[in-house]
Amino acid sequence: MNKGSKRLLTITQNGLLFIYAIFALFPLIWMVLLSIKSDTQMYTTTFNFTPTLSNYTEVLLKTDYFKYLLDSLIVAGGAVIISVIAGVPAAYALARYDFKKKEDIAFQILSFKFAPEILVVLPLFMIYQTLGLYDSYFGLIWVYQLISMPLLIWVVRGYFEDISVEIEHAAQVDGYSWYQIFFKMLLPLIKPGLVSAALLAFIFAWNTFTFPLLLAGSKIQPITVAITKFLGTDTAHYGQLAVAATVSALPAIIFALCIQKHLVRGLSFGAVKG
């Protein structure tokens, strides 16, 4: 390929990316724009308007917004932590040990991720009412395991499968006990996968709607359920909704920026050779 055509190719590639970037990012920019528009200018202006922070003060200072955000953080974060604690050892066992029905169990766990929420939510509601789990942090964290656990186990299992079993043997020979090997030798190796899977699980848990809508009520209101409140009761306050949406996306975005280096690598489902 000569220089000219190579240059042309690069320009085309950048151009295509640019077009897609507009499609992908414009709605977000639009959302931020809405968040600084007043109700009166909401529909009558596009880019030429008087920016205002009133939507922000309205949402952040005059409502329980931070309580909703905190609720989301507790349930989504708690769900991911439980998934990590229970899921990482399970992923290890599913990767390493040969036991009866291993593949079936592995698939069973994965299949929960794909269980239609509507199917489980109604019976769960009845169970939760009886067990007193309705409208509790624990109840939500538990049901969120359907979202976070399978994802986590599957990503991390791939990583464990990729670690040569002889590394563990070597560590045993070196005099380490099972749990020391697990924490000292294996965990550092699966870290990229673990972190990315945890982030993805967090995002999915954060964004879920049906479960918190029907299984929580007055005490706990994650942001997804609360967010449509900002549409308002008499007129639709899209500006406030935009504020609520923008701010609610921030934790995940910040998290993603922090682990940006790991993120892509970590989602290769173990296809990375150590």
Binding site: T44, Q129, V225, T233, T235, A236
Partner: protein, 453 residues
């Protein structure tokens, strides 16, 4: 120090005053009880929440409440009620919902509480409620029997009638006069199509695929036109959507939307209707009067101040405006374990004192109490909107629920809305008549298992 003292004295005085008004019953009888309340996200609920601390102070009852946006409110409420655990004790509901909840045994009839002088203060003045609204919340549980008889299932927080709101500025600029007949309405809608370029249009009405599309404007005109949804014939409910009036009216409605409705009518709920009216994109809106009213409040929208209110355009040969009525209300869970405490809550937040607050400072302009409506404070506020009070009074004279009560209300109205959508945007049916006949047949079949005495 002095400040503190004054505060204490003032508080004591306030409590005493409040006590004086409610002195005849023991408000502290259920001190320490906790009750759960489910609200739909709404101005009415906000007014209550604003006064919640007062209630808690007066009674010593702790109120735990949730507010849920309207799109999902009833799904959540259905689920909660069906658990039969008594949580929530009090919930917001509409009249249509009571047709479903009451026969299923989820609702506590309120008549006994109101009549018991040991439970209800004399100052409550039950008779002060506008009779039409109270009647909308009564039903004898027999499908096909109209509302107004039987037990009282809920108490109103506010109500809405469905009238025409229009943009004075646009009407003046285009030299169009306010339509009073359906023909004028159609002509105006056509004339106002693209009145200010692409995307602007004549008349905003709801079009989403659910009951919300049927019950405001459509049902009001349907009733005004003289059509009925169901009648009892030979011990069965029979759907009458295939009657001449029903077909005529629906055909008119479809043509009206096609000629002058929003380009994306089938996705329009109340919020988009209101938004378009407020932004000056729609020249008219036929929806809940409140919807137009709130757009008109200064600072709420671009067209605030330009909106005016009118009644229901009449079809040829019809003299009476009939508006279908919607009343946000509160009911009590039949499985509640704190019924008496819950009653105190209901009583307090539907009392004349509270209603005056909510009708004025609380922004709930459609008050269900006559005493409030005739109060100066209220009239001063509402009179700011041109024609509002006039059309409100005019239309409310004949406002009631024009649906035939039956527990499959949501199913029948959703199917109804689906057919309406099909008539406007698809070519599924050859004619309105064919569509309505099929629909009537389907709905008759659907309700055939209901027991009609």
């Amino acid at each position: 120090m002095i400040k503190k003292f004054v505060a204490v004295v003032l508080t004591a005085l306030m409590v005493m005053c409040a006590g004086a008004a409610f002195a005849d019953i023991n408000w502290k009888a259920y001190e320490g009880t906790t009750i759960n309340v489910m609200f739909n996200e709404h101005t009415y609920a906000n007014a209550i929440i604003a006064k919640m601390a007062d209630f808690e102070k007066l009674t010593g009852i702790k109120v735990v409440y949730s507010t849920t946006p309207e799109t999902n409110y009833f799904d959540k409420l259905n689920t909660a009620l069906s658990s039969r655990t008594g949580d929530p004790d009090i919930f917001m509901t509409g009249a249509y919902q009571t047709w479903e909840y009451a026969p299923a045994g989820y609702m506590e009839p309120l008549d006994a509480y109101i009549q018991d002088s040991s439970k209800t203060s004399e100052s409550y003045k039950y008779d002060d409620f506008i009779p039409g609204i109270i009647n909308a919340l009564k039903w004898d549980l027999v499908p096909g029997h109209p509302v107004g008889k039987g037990k009282l299932w809920a108490l109103p927080m506010g109500w809405e009638i469905n009238t025409l709101t229009y943009n004075k500025k646009i009407f003046e600029a285009k030299g169009i006069k306010v339509p009073t007949t359906t023909k004028e309405l159609y002509d105006a809608a056509v004339a106002l199509k693209e009145h200010a370029g692409s995307g602007t249009y004549g008349l905003a009405v709801r079009g989403t695929r659910d009951w919300g599309t049927i019950h405001p404007a459509y049902m009001s005109l349907f009733a005004t036109w003289g059509a009925k949804d169901f009648v009892t014939e030979g011990g069965k409910l029979v759907c009458k959507l295939d009657s001449k009036e029903a077909i005529e009216m629906t055909d008119y409605w479809v043509k009206l939307i096609k000629a002058g409705g929003a380009p994306q009518w089938s996705t329009y709920g109340w919020e988009l209707c209101g938004a378009d009216l407020g932004a000056g994109k729609a020249a008219m809106m036929w929806d809940a009067d409140r919807g137009g009213y709130t757009q008109n409040v200064e600072g709420a929208s671009a067209e605030a101040g330009n909106l005016a209110f009118s009644g229901i355009p009449l079809p040829e040969g019809v003299k009476v405006q009939r508006s279908n009525l919607w009343a946000w209300s509160m009911g009590m869970n039949a499985y509640s374990k704190n019924k008496d405490a819950a009653w105190l809550f209901l009583q307090y937040f539907t009392s004349p004192e509270f209603m005056l607050y909510s009708g004025t400072e609380g922004d709930c302009t459609d008050t269900p109490r006559q005493s409030v409506m005739s109060s100066k404070a209220y009239r001063d506020i509402v009179n700011k909107a041109e024609g509002y009070l006039k059309s409100f009074e005019e239309v409310s004279a004949n406002a009631t629920i024009f649906f035939t009560p039956q527990p499959y209300f949501f199913e029948t109205t959703t199917m109804w809305a689906e057919v309406l959508q099909d008539l406007v945007v698809t070519n599924k049916y050859k004619s309105t008549e064919e569509a309505m006949k099929q629909l009537a047949e389907k709905l008759t079949d659907l309700v055939s298992d209901l027991e009609v005495e």
